[in-house]
């Protein structure tokens, strides 16, 4: 457990199979610099043949307070390596089950980018389900491990994000989000009332990126 007043230690598990072609994720991951309290773990770079070092991964988890799964949203889920990581690292007896309490009390954040816009993720949209519905496997995984699943950080409509200043806004929003989580300036009680972490930040005037907010934020409060 971290000492009082210390910043939260954040582990970003980053999964992108072809970062060299990425426009958004590359900039996002560059925006959060590695510091004493932020570890960026590039899974595809580290395990090109999917041979995951379970022991080491578990030690990494233990050394951090907030775990971020950052990845593009492929087929309503993560790229393959993150699933492999979950299957191997979140072992019985470590993450869940009898004596599996190693991760209890930690927080989990999904930070994803989707090609489709926010409107595509609703009953009337092409994807029918909402992002929160589609992310339930991640949410329940966190719950089973005794971790708190935060509202996700989502950047929608990456196909339409062409303008450099638009992208810059998203990047700045992500930087702010990670910094807020690290510095513990988030109201943890109020946060779960928002669908997305983005909404919380916007509502609290921490960011001014309107990209995700073409619909009234109040509509999303559950």
């Amino acid at each position: 457990m971290k000492a009082m007043g210390q910043p939260n230690r954040i582990l970003i598990l980053f999964a992108h199979p072809a970062l060299e072609k990425s426009r958004i994720n590359r900039q996002l991951i560059r925006a959060v610099r590695e510091t004493d309290s932020i570890t960026i773990h590039d899974l595809y770079e580290h395990y090109p043949n999917f041979h995951i070092n379970v022991k080491w991964e578990q030690e990494l988890l233990l050394a951090h307070d907030i775990i971020v799964f950052q990845h593009p949203f492929y087929w309503y889920s993560s790229p393959a390596i993150l699933k492999e990581w979950q299957d191997l690292v979140l072992e019985y007896g470590f993450a869940y089950g009898h004596n599996g309490t190693a991760l209890q009390g930690k927080k989990v954040l999904s930070a994803i980018t989707t090609g489709g816009s926010k409107q595509a993720y609703c009953r009337q949209g092409h994807n029918y389900f909402t992002v929160r519905e589609l992310l339930t496997p991640f949410e329940q995984t966190a719950r089973l491990c005794g971790m708190e699943y935060l509202p996700p950080f989502v950047i929608h409509g990456t196909h339409q994000l062409r303008e450099a200043d638009q992208i810059a806004l998203c990047v700045e929003e992500y930087r702010t989000a990670i910094a807020a989580l690290r510095d513990d300036v988030v109201d943890w009680q109020q946060l779960p009332q928002h669908l997305y972490l983005n909404h919380y930040l916007y509502a609290n005037k921490l960011t001014n990126n309107p990209v995700n907010h073409s619909v009234e934020p109040s509509l999303h409060v559950q």
Binding site: A18, L19, E20, G116, N127
Partner: protein, 618 residues
């Protein structure tokens, strides 16, 4: 008709064997019966091509039995022998005690003197190791529980012959001189000391002296000198054992067990094996020739009655013992039938007993005939087992065999344990697979042994050595030697002799790989391909390519190159055509890798929800 000419005799024996044995084998009677029948045919009561000198031939041919026990010893590592101590002492000992008690009782009832009855009860139940082991091995029954038990009893008997030899003179009405003492002219305690010294000498010599000697000989790379050394070893032990009045077979058996741990195990087996089989054949021939049919025809009822009585008594007792040791009925019957025949040692012991006046000459003659005829009949028992008994228990014995763990031979043979074979071997060992390793460089073996590797000496491209290493029972043969011609030779040999064996071959270069592909080798691995590809990946990464992409590119490259390899192997060995094809293929590859890059583009940047986005923007 007998001719003193050695070549004529050799011609007679060889002709008899060459004609009779294949016929007998074809009829499913086994080689032993073939040899015995051939012996009867050429013997004094057949064509009379061999006469009294048959006895001398037999003495010489007994050396085949000595060699057989050496080979049996080589197949038994000391720890395996130690694990078999219960059946050897328990089954063997009980078998002998029960026989002595029951048979001598019968003898006393028949009015024999107690000395005679005891002598007969000791000698008659002995079973022939030569016939037992040969028939069991020929039928592949050696590793069954029944086969193992039979072998244990034979082993016990081989040891028991020594005290029996010592005991017989004491039974004599007017004791003759102790035979062993007569040979060496030593007092009892000196004799005992000499025996212990000799056996200890074999163990210590085998352990510490023979390995450097074989290493030195192997380094000369002269095959015939290695053969000569192996023969010298067996002959030398035989002489030494005879000198101290012990069974040579026992001596070579001990030497075999000691050398079973050494790296020269398979090479020794394959070297001695041909001599052993020929001499053993000769031995069976002379047994057949030595059966005195005059005696048999003189008292047919007595002899036939004795044979039947002894056979029933012996097998009944053994089945009982087998059941006691929980072998199950089918295996107990196998155990009994493998041991039903009399022992060749009985010939020696009966004549020795007759000399010592324990038995009358007439009785000894009758008993020798009974033993010889029982040897003639024993293959029939095995045939009866094969045809009548085993099929009834087919399912039961199948289950049993599945439980048997093959102690001796490993499922994987690795030929060549240099840079290449070692990596394969280490991976297999680390995953708990047991391997047999063959290596032909004595210096390399020495080095590997120092690191604790169990490696055997031998040129793995020789088929007999592969047999000795258990290639007929193995699943995989990994050919990891570095001589491209030899690899091809081995592939051809292995394909021909071991069709069930999967072959994994090291390809030295591309051309060599073509050859291997044309031979349809199961797994072909170019020796430098994978490591070079790995280095290519590292180079790409240093140039700034993401490691997953470099990894994928290498996989694509590997796949394409292997396809091309098979493609080109199918083409005629026409250089210009190959060149053109090779150029074409590398252009293809470039295209594939670049289009792969474009596909990635789609895959990642304009992913599955592209459609959704298009719809929205409409």
């Amino acid at each position: 008709m007998s001719n003193e000419n050695l070549f004529f005799q050799a011609f007679v024996y060889l002709t008899a064997a060459v004609i009779t044995v294949p016929i007998s084998k074809r009829l499913g009677l086994g080689s032993v019966l073939g040899y015995l029948i051939a012996g009867v045919i050429i013997g004094p009561f057949g064509l009379r091509l061999v006469g009294q000198e048959g006895q001398d031939v037999m003495r010489f041919a007994e050396f085949g039995v000595v060699m057989m026990l050496f080979l049996v010893g080589l197949q038994l590592q000391p720890d395996l022998l130690w694990r078999m101590r219960m059946p050897i002492v328990g089954l063997g000992g009980l078998q002998m005690i029960a026989n002595v008690v029951l048979l001598s009782g019968v003898g006393l009832l028949l009015g024999l003197s107690w000395q005679t009855a005891l002598a007969i009860s000791l000698i008659l139940p002995l079973s022939s190791t030569a016939i037992g082991v040969q028939t069991l091995t020929e039928r592949g029954l050696m590793r069954t529980p029944g086969g193992q038990s039979a072998f244990s009893v034979l082993l016990f008997q081989a040891v028991a012959v020594i005290p029996i030899l010592a005991l017989l003179p004491l039974l004599a009405a007017n004791p003759a001189v102790d035979q062993a003492a007569a040979q060496t002219g030593l007092a009892g305690w000196q004799q005992t000391l000499l025996v212990i010294t000799t056996v200890a000498g074999i163990v210590v010599g085998g352990r510490f002296l023979m390995r450097p000697v074989f290493r030195f000989i192997a380094a000369t790379r002269l095959r015939e000198i290695f053969t000569a050394t192996a023969l010298l070893l067996v002959v030398g032990i035989t002489l030494a054992m005879q000198a101290v009045g012990l069974s040579p077979a026992l001596g070579t058996f001990v030497a075999g067990v000691v050398l079973a741990e050494s790296e020269y195990r398979h090479e020794l087996m394959s070297t001695i094996e041909p001599f052993q089989s020929l001499l053993l054949g000769l031995f069976f021939l002379s047994v057949g020739a030595s059966i005195d049919f005059n005696l048999v025809l003189g008292q047919p009822l007595l002899i036939v009655g004795l044979i039947i009585g002894v056979s029933i008594f012996k097998s009944g007792l053994l089945i009982g013992l087998g059941t006691l040791f929980k072998l199950g009925l089918s295996q107990s019957i196998l155990f009994a039938f493998a041991l039903v025949q009399g022992d060749e040692f009985a010939f020696v012991l009966f004549s020795f007993a007759a000399q010592s006046n324990v038995l009358s000459e007439n009785l000894a003659g009758i008993l020798v005939a009974v033993v010889a005829l029982s040897m003639l009949l024993s293959p029939l028992f095995m045939i009866a087992y094969d045809r009548l008994i085993e099929p009834r228990f087919a399912t039961a014995s199948d289950e049993r065999e599945a439980d048997e763990i093959d102690d001796n031979e490993n499922p994987v043979i690795i030929a060549g344990f240099g840079r290449f074979g070692q990596i394969v071997g280490r991976l297999l060992l680390a995953n708990g697979c047991s391997i047999t390793v063959l290596e032909h460089n004595p210096a390399q073996i020495e080095l590997l042994r120092r690191f604790g590797w169990k490696v055997f000496y031998g040129d793995a491209s020789r088929i007999d050595l592969l047999y000795a290493a258990g290639a007929d029972q193995a699943k995989l043969l990994v050919i990891a030697i570095d001589d491209s011609e030899k690899i091809l030779e081995m592939v051809d040999l292995a394909r021909k002799h071991f069709p069930g064996l999967k072959l994994l071959a090291r390809a030295i270069d591309r051309r060599h790989a073509y050859e291997l592909i044309r031979r349809e080798v199961d797994v072909i691995q170019r020796e430098t391909f994978s490591s070079a590809l790995d280095m290519g990946v590292e180079a790409l990464k240093l140039l700034g390519v993401r490691s997953y992409r470099a990894h994928r590119a290498a996989q694509t490259f590997r796949h394409h190159d292997e396809e091309a390899l098979h493609d080109m192997a199918a083409m005629a060995e026409d250089d210009s055509a190959l060149m053109a094809r090779s150029r074409q293929l590398s252009e293809d590859l470039e295209q594939i890798l670049q289009s792969d890059e474009r596909e990635m583009d789609h895959e990642v940047d304009r992913a599955w929800d592209l459609l959704a986005q298009q719809q929205e923007s409409q």
